[in-house]
Amino acid sequence: MISSAKNHSHLLLTLVFFIVSFSLLEPVMSWILILVICATVMRTALYLELHKHAPSIRTLNLLALLSAIVLAYFSWQLGILLGMLNLLVLACSLKLMLLRSDKDYFQLITSCGFLIGCGFIFQQGIAFSLFYFALTLVLLMSLATHISPNLPLNKLIKKVSVMGAQAIPITLLLFMVLPLIGPLWQMPASKSHQTGLAEKVTPGDIANLSQSAELAFRVTFDGTIPAPQERYWRALVMENFDGESWQVSPDRKAIQRQYKGANREFSPILEGNYYQYQVIAEPTHQSWLYALDVATPIGASSQQKVWQSHEYQLSSISPLVSTFQYEIRSFPQVLLNQTLSSVDKRINRQLPEQGNPLTKQWVAETRQKYTTDDDFIAAVMFYFSSQDFEYTLQPPLMPNDQVDTFLFVEQRGFCSHYASAMAYMLRLGGIPARLVTGYQGGEQLDSDYMSVYQYDAHAWIEAWHDDRGWIRYDPTAIVAPNRLESGLRNALNEADLLLGSGFGQLSTVAWLNSLRNWLKDVDFFWTKWVLGFDKDKQQDLIKSLIGKITPQKLAMFSLGAVLLIFALIALFFLPIWRKPKQDKASYYYELAEHLLTKVNLHRRASQGPADFVSQVKNKAPSSITEPFAAITDLYIQHHYQPSSISQQQLIISRMKSHWKQLKQAMKKQKG
């Protein structure tokens, strides 16, 4: 039974548990968090001695039973991973209420360590890693305080930090050589997790994204970087329009499924100049990827995990639950005319029957004037440039006949309004057209790498040309040419900028800006080298260390790594092993001393044996005093008088018998 009153180790443990549980705010159910708060308050009250009695085991058993039933009920919806996590947090909070023995304490410490590990399932950013690292140190501090409560704080901190530092090389080594196994569980992919673009675009959606400064993906170029206005990062192609919103065509999905089933991938013929680059995409819980036209994955691993479909769209085999890295090559001069034109045309001529009479009328009139497709498209583009269109993040609501309202009444909108309207007009004019969403631009941070944020989200269209295939048109570029050349920020007016608080209005302060850039660099490094360290990179690393991989070499390498880890651990334990073993006389003397503590006779740390025995003689009955005096005499003889080895052995055996005598006397004393 251990008390929590003024027990710093318990307070630290409670603190860590509380913080960890709340860092898992999303996956842990709120009623369990309430239990966590209860347990924390309870433990803190015990620590402050506001309250003396912990709840009884009966109460806690009842509570445990009830919560187990509730949890079991909810687990059906949660799935196994989240269910288990909730169970762990619940069990820990109940254990924290119960905490009354060393065993409970150590169990809690272990479970909290495990919970910190669970945190990495949901958060892998560098800030969270540092945060969890700090929490782990606090947890170790709690353990250190528990084991040596009398040590001053600075000594404890020193001890924990030295041990932490010793663990770092071992961690690095394990990180690099341990076989990387994929996750053993299915990651939860609830709707709320989906970020970034959506599979369905209603004009106005992208405007919401534009207010988010979250990172979408990062690109590292090998060689030249395309000019800003050429950076159209294609993500999704939407070919189904219902008069209000655009979405991926169900026909297209069916075709994709067919091809995937047959394991036949669309592979366009690519030649000419190319850009080569790696993309590190942030998790979206969706499967599409980003690339410049026309792209193809490079390298075995990228080819394996990236799928090319007939809209020249790349997607990954599984949803992006964590950062996803792939290498691609883009050929900007290749024409998008390598797919079956009949299918493309059929899908991209579909029109909603209802609505937008003004647009229909306008298109019919214009189409009569311009009979060729090119002329007609030019006329549509001219319409956008000749009228007083405004590019804004705050478009007015357009509930009915959206395109009509936009084109002829409001004339204010965001990229998706322009793209949607133009694609619709072209389809009315009989030209196959589709909406493409993705990102445009990107912030170049270094000579070779750039970050693309959610506020770079963009929508444009593609129209079919019989000779040249799909041609990209961007009506936004006509209305707000700045949007392409210098990014969204410059294309907006003041009011929009104030509204768009998401992205760096701080960029005017120089040092903040450089700090921001530095943090971005650090984050990039972290993502690329720590989070992006996968099986392939590990293999590359091993290859670069030992050359060509053969089974013998690999075995030697693994053995070497294991030995190195053992050597590092040994380095830590060596001082303990090398400590001279205590001699037998001291051992028996200490045993006797320990026996005396049971009758409340303690030797002061600075007290000598002769001094102590006289103190004992004053306080204890002779049945105890006599054997202890004999032990002390022998100890003094052994330690301070000149004696031969044979004498010493005799002394030790006599000490042993006196010690047994003392032990029996103590038993009698108690009985």
Binding site: A605, S606, G608, P609, D611, H639, Y640, Q641, P642
Partner: protein
């Protein structure tokens, strides 16, 4: 305890009443062949104690009262021209005694102080190019007034180091002082007989050197001095000379208690006297409880391996 030493202690404590511990320490110091520094206010019995020691041990005794105008020659002696013999003749000073009481040592000028301290260390005196040995055994009992009294020259650390031990007498307790007032026996010193001969005392000193100090004891002493060197709060850490002095004093203390081996308690008994003045240096204050050496003792477990 050694029989005749016991008698000696009883006899001395008749003169200096109620100061048994200090008397034992003083004897210990002499058994260890070291010089003694007694620090206290005037009238506490410093001189009485030294007198009693000299008489009891049968040592010839002289007293030098230190003043600021005392010159080294006044203490060491000087060559005087004898007109009858047509040669210089040496007239030894009061230092040529087996036990010298250097009273109020910190009143003398540094020059005289250092002459005394040199004699203490070398056990010989150099005068006009001639070296003369001091008698054997040779002890100096220095007495010192508290530093804050006026007209004092504090002994530097290097010279304090020459004294094996420093003790303080302090006020006697109620009963002891009452007994002292009752006895009114001022001439007791005159009647004191020596109980130990000089030869016996010298052979005792040789016995002290044979007292066994085990490895465990040496480790304990080393742990103590190392702690003073490695821990903050000790302005003057203990020197190797101090560790040697501690061990030697502990041996004498063990001998005084009829043991031929040293136990940790011996170290603990002598350490405050041996180490405190070295730890404090010249900033020492007489009423300072031996807190630095006690701090040292408290920090180290004598039994730890």
């Amino acid at each position: 305890m050694q029989k005749n030493l016991e008698t000696a202690i009883v006899q001395i404590s008749n003169q200096v009443i109620g100061k048994n511990q200090q008397i034992k320490l003083a004897l210990t110091c002499m058994l260890a062949n070291g010089h003694l520094l007694i620090e206290d206010l005037p009238g506490m019995g410093k001189t009485t104690l030294s007198h009693a020691l000299a008489k009891t041990l049968g040592l010839d005794f002289s007293r030098i009262q230190f003043t600021s105008d005392l010159l080294p020659a006044d203490m060491l002696g000087l060559n005087i021209f004898d007109s009858a013999k047509q040669s210089f003749e040496f007239h030894p000073g009061p230092i040529f005694s087996q036990l010298v009481l250097a009273d109020e040592i910190n009143r003398a000028s540094p020059k005289t102080q250092s002459a005394l301290l040199e004699a203490m260390e070398e056990k010989q005196v150099s005068l006009d190019g001639e070296t003369r040995d001091l008698p054997s055994p040779f002890f100096v009992i220095g007495t010192q007034n508290p530093m804050h009294q006026s007209g004092t020259y504090p002994l530097p650390e290097s010279q304090l180091d020459r004294f094996l031990m420093r003790i303080q007498l302090g006020y006697p307790d109620w009963n002891a002082e009452k007994q002292m007032l009752l006895s009114q026996n001022t001439s007791a010193i005159e009647t004191t007989e020596s109980v130990i001969t000089v030869d016996e005392f010298v052979s005792m000193q040789n016995e002290v050197n044979k007292v066994h100090a085990s490895d465990a004891i040496l480790d304990y002493v080393l742990r103590l001095v190392t702690f003073s060197r490695e821990t903050e709060g000790f302005p003057n850490p203990l020197s190797p000379r101090a560790s040697k002095a501690t061990l030697q004093a502990a041996r004498a203390w063990a001998f005084l208690h009829s043991r031929d081996y040293v136990i940790p308690e011996d170290i603990q008994a002598v350490l405050p006297s041996v180490a405190e003045h070295r730890l404090r240096g010249s900033t020492s204050d007489f009423n300072g409880q031996s807190s630095l050496s006690e701090k040292l003792l408290d920090a180290i477990d004598p039994l730890a391996a």
